[in-house]
């Protein structure tokens, strides 16, 4: 009861701070303390977002971005888990490819983006690859770490209890790694979105990244910021959903 009240308090404070920030922003622009050209203003942003929603314009582009993001997210996650398991269970592979992984992960993906466009075209594929290139490493490293950090006693116990290699993977390794993988999923959703948007920003004919690039070319900061807000809302929503999913799958952790 007390905890519920406290969290309500926190929520209240957050909303209050947000309202204060928006108010300060609006007043500063109206009074001319800050140039509207660069930062737009909250009332314009709300109107712009409403117009987009009412006309359906934003959904058309959001759908494209979400499609790229989800494909990139799924492909990157599956690939990351797969390679993570490969590394964890085939130490030879891990020893050979470990430096390569570290090097590849160090590559600045945003700079690589134009190359991806060259290799995979200006369509869906280049954005998906971009998202995969970011998501893969997050998931791979957490899967690999998760598998390596499985409690030795638990593994030994399961072996003594009669578990075969396959059974150990099913009953011990996968569930143990799941916790790590889930915590990385929330990060990688954000990365998948970054991949898709950066890809669109660099070469596309639709999607939220294109909307933002187009608005920038019009010097329309309202649309740029409104576009960012829409993306923020999407990530917040997905994060919320994933958090619930994570709680559902790792309720055994809560005491």
């Amino acid at each position: 009861m007390r905890r519920a009240a406290a969290s309500l308090d926190i929520l209240g404070w957050r909303l209050l701070l947000l309202a204060a920030f928006l108010l300060l922003w609006e007043v500063s622009v109206r009074r001319g303390w800050i140039d509207r050209f660069f930062v737009s203003q909250p009332s314009h942003l709300f109107r712009q977002t409403w117009d987009w929603v009412a006309s359906g314009y934003v959904f058309r582009h959001l759908w494209v971005t979400m499609e790229e993001m989800l494909l990139g997210f799924l492909a990157g996650t599956l690939l990351g888990i797969l390679v993570g398991f490969l590394f964890a269970f085939m130490p030879v592979v891990a020893r050979i490819f470990d430096p390569l992984m570290v090097l590849l992960n160090a590559l600045p993906r945003v700079v690589l983006a134009p190359l991806f466009v060259l290799w995979f075209g200006l369509g869906l594929l280049s954005k998906v690859v971009m998202a995969v290139s970011l998501v893969f490493f997050v998931v791979f490293f957490s899967t690999y770490t998760g598998l390596r950090e499985v409690d030795r006693d638990i593994v030994n116990n399961a072996r003594i209890l009669g578990g075969s290699r396959r059974q150990l993977i099913q009953h011990v390794y996968v569930p143990a790694a799941m916790a790590w993988i889930f915590s990385s999923l929330r990060t990688s959703v954000g990365f998948a979105l970054i991949g898709a948007v950066v890809g669109e920003y660099l070469g596309a004919s639709e999607g939220m990244g294109w909307v933002i690039a187009y608005a920038e070319a019009q010097f329309n900061s309202t649309q740029v910021i409104a576009g960012l807000f829409v993306l923020m809302a999407v990530v917040a929503l997905m994060d919320f959903g994933l958090k619930r999913l994570e709680e559902h799958f790792s309720h055994w952790k809560a005491s």
Partner: protein
């Protein structure tokens, strides 16, 4: 009743490599025998290689030299007919108590329904009825130990290795667990090799106690415990034979504990 040796160690030595040309001898030249149905304890100061001994018997660790026979067969790889109770509990935290206890049966190819039915049985026998749907982290240390015990007994291994299983429990819980263990043992008559650093616990539980030296661990002495069964671990301490037995063994153990203590102080 003691017809054959369930476990037989012949001059077993285990060395670990510490570096390119440094090694550490954990266990040196240990020979011992445990008869079928016997309850034997191994006592020794910390770091005397007691756990290493169990590791080798279970097949988790290969010995550097010497011979290990379990039920007359040389150990090669993990022996799935053994039970092993670890010092730290090694339950699967993501599974419920019921599923944890059922896991060894699933590993052995049982179908889920009969595995669970039997697991329920054993949960009842260790006194945890009502907790089937809980997760390990919702239970106390003592309760988790009971789950581990059920998990080990559920597939009816003939030999059970126990590595200081009650060391982390408070005294009251510990005595309760020890009594329950004795009760179950009396019904099942399994062979038990029990490791502890607590001399009282060893005497109270065992048919025989083996005292080991500080590292490298060697057998220093073996004592038969002529106390009757069934016993209560709390009452057996007041038995007139208990005091002299304790004193005799403590004389053996004292020097080793001293050595081990000095060693750890030097290292610190």
């Amino acid at each position: 009743m003691h017809t054959h040796a369930a476990i037989r160690l012949g001059q077993v030595t285990k060395r670990f490599a510490l570096g390119p040309d440094a090694e550490f001898t954990a266990v040196a030249d240990v020979s011992l025998e445990v008869q079928a149905g016997e309850f034997v304890s191994v006592v020794g100061p910390s770091g005397c290689g007691k756990s290493t001994l169990l590791g080798m018997i279970s097949g988790l660790l290969p010995p550097s030299s010497g011979r290990i026979l379990v039920e007359g067969e040389a150990v090669a790889g993990i022996n799935k007919r053994l039970g092993y109770l670890f010092q730290r509990d090694a339950l699967l935290p993501w599974k419920t108590i019921l599923d944890n206890v059922a896991v060894p049966l699933l590993f052995r190819g049982w179908d889920a329904r009969s595995a669970r039915a039997r697991a329920r049985d054993w949960i009842q026998r260790v006194g945890l009825t009502g907790f089937e749907g809980y997760h390990p982290n919702q239970l106390s240390g003592g309760m988790r130990k009971r789950v581990s015990l059920a998990m080990t007994l559920v597939y009816e291994p003939e030999i059970i290795l126990m590595d200081e299983p009650f060391a982390a429990l408070d005294v009251q819980t510990r005595n309760l667990m020890e009594n329950d263990l004795l009760e179950i043992w009396a019904q099942e008559r399994k062979t038990v090799l029990f490791i502890t650093h607590d001399l009282e616990e060893a005497i109270a539980l065992s048919d025989r106690v083996i005292v080991m030296t500080a590292s490298p661990g060697r057998v220093k002495g073996a004592y038969d415990i002529p106390l009757g069964r069934p016993r209560s671990v709390t009452e057996v301490r007041f038995h007139p034979a208990f005091g002299p037995l304790y004193e005799a063994m403590w004389k053996d153990l004292k020097d080793e504990v001293q050595i081990s203590y000095e060693k750890s102080r030097r290292l610190a």
